[in-house]
């Protein structure tokens, strides 16, 4: 099954993804998309890392997420991607063709076997940003979240640590 876990900053979305993985019977691979570009980000990455069980394998994929996902996914295994919006931000920063990237990622999501838990940020519920780059990111993140939600059997929205089911396999 594929699940998208979506929430705001510090909403508890990563913790929920990790709880899913802890409850899974098999092997866990954690694909981290964060890049330690500055001290603040390095501290965040380290805090996330320290929280993860020793038995999990961590793969860093700030850019080549689709390849990492296809390589990591396997029957009986659970793969966490944390998170889609950081990856998108890295790809925009690298001047990538975002529409093509999104298509490739969606194909990888469909091809991947085993369990997938995708973490993503909701970034579109504030005031329209002043600068064009932030608006571009916001639009691309909204499109990516919609596409990922459509490709997943389960979508969970997290607010203040409380999960709210937006889509279920039975729906």
């Amino acid at each position: 099954m594929r699940e998208l876990i979506l929430g705001g900053a510090r909403s508890g979305k990563s913790a929920l993804a990790e709880a899913r993985a802890e409850a899974a019977p098999g092997e866990v691979v954690y694909i981290a998309t964060a890049e330690a570009a500055d001290d603040e980000m390095a501290a965040r990455i380290e805090a996330h890392r320290a929280r993860r069980p020793d038995g999990w394998r961590t793969v860093e994929a700030p850019q080549a997420l689709s390849a990492a996902l296809l390589e990591a996914a396997a029957p009986g295994r659970l793969v966490i991607v944390d998170c889609l919006t950081l990856w998108l931000s890295n790809r925009l920063g690298a001047g990538a063709d975002i529409a093509a990237d999104q298509a490739t990622l969606l194909a990888a999501l469909k091809d991947a076997s085993g369990e997938l838990v995708l973490v993503s940020n909701e970034v579109g519920q504030g005031i329209v940003p002043d600068n064009a780059m932030a608006r571009r990111f916001r639009d691309a993140a909204g499109r990516l979240n919609q596409a990922a939600a459509a490709a997943c059997e389960q979508v969970t929205y997290v607010v203040a640590g409380q999960p709210l089911t937006l889509k279920t396999p039975s729906a």
Copy 2:
């Protein structure tokens, strides 16, 4: 029935409104509130327009929304307003009395016959904006969304393309 469809940027709220209209048996009128003030906005408007079926009538009402709504609404017809927050932004830009505008719009919503689908942006879930104008817009949008939700029989919140019912006719 009146429905308010509320969501963040690129959340799929317009697409949901259009899906409602496609499922409706009668005539569809699409009231667009966007103003093509720059190339970016012109491109957005064009993308929205290209997506709409040929049979729908489009009315542009960046300022005089209440009059357009009352003129368009009719028994057996479905009217989409896309979107309230752009209209609000246009009215603020024109120096209008927002409280009076809101009262007029709410009266029009109550008087309008047929089916109404109102699209609006949630803009109040980010950090308090630095500039006073953005804070004023954010407050006015919150008030307008609350008032519109109270006037509608159905309220749907869209996150990543997934609709979540906040209010139903039977509730």
Copy 3:
């Protein structure tokens, strides 16, 4: 019972908290955390105050919230705290140790008797803010909301005045 009412700017969260208090059989104490630092804030405070019934007692606690909460709470009484995020902002402005503050507040929440209704802002669903102080506030608010939600038996998310239950005592 303890309830956290969470929502964006002008979402109707204070009005919902006040409706809870109006429905309560006993005495009501309203703990206001706002500081009238400028005219805009003074006007907001006054608008909130004018809305409240005369019978309610108002306590101002822009900084010493935990002490005010413990002093106000009593069996048969309902205490509103409006709101946690303004208090957090005041504490950050005062250079306080936020983690210690949060721990003290959570202990007070657990010790407080009677009914508690806590109001808080969702601020993490917009674009990542440009300035480090705003990011620090956003992170602290997210953590505080998660912790408060975990400590409360009921969590209600308000969007456009429509309440959505995220956690219930029976769940």
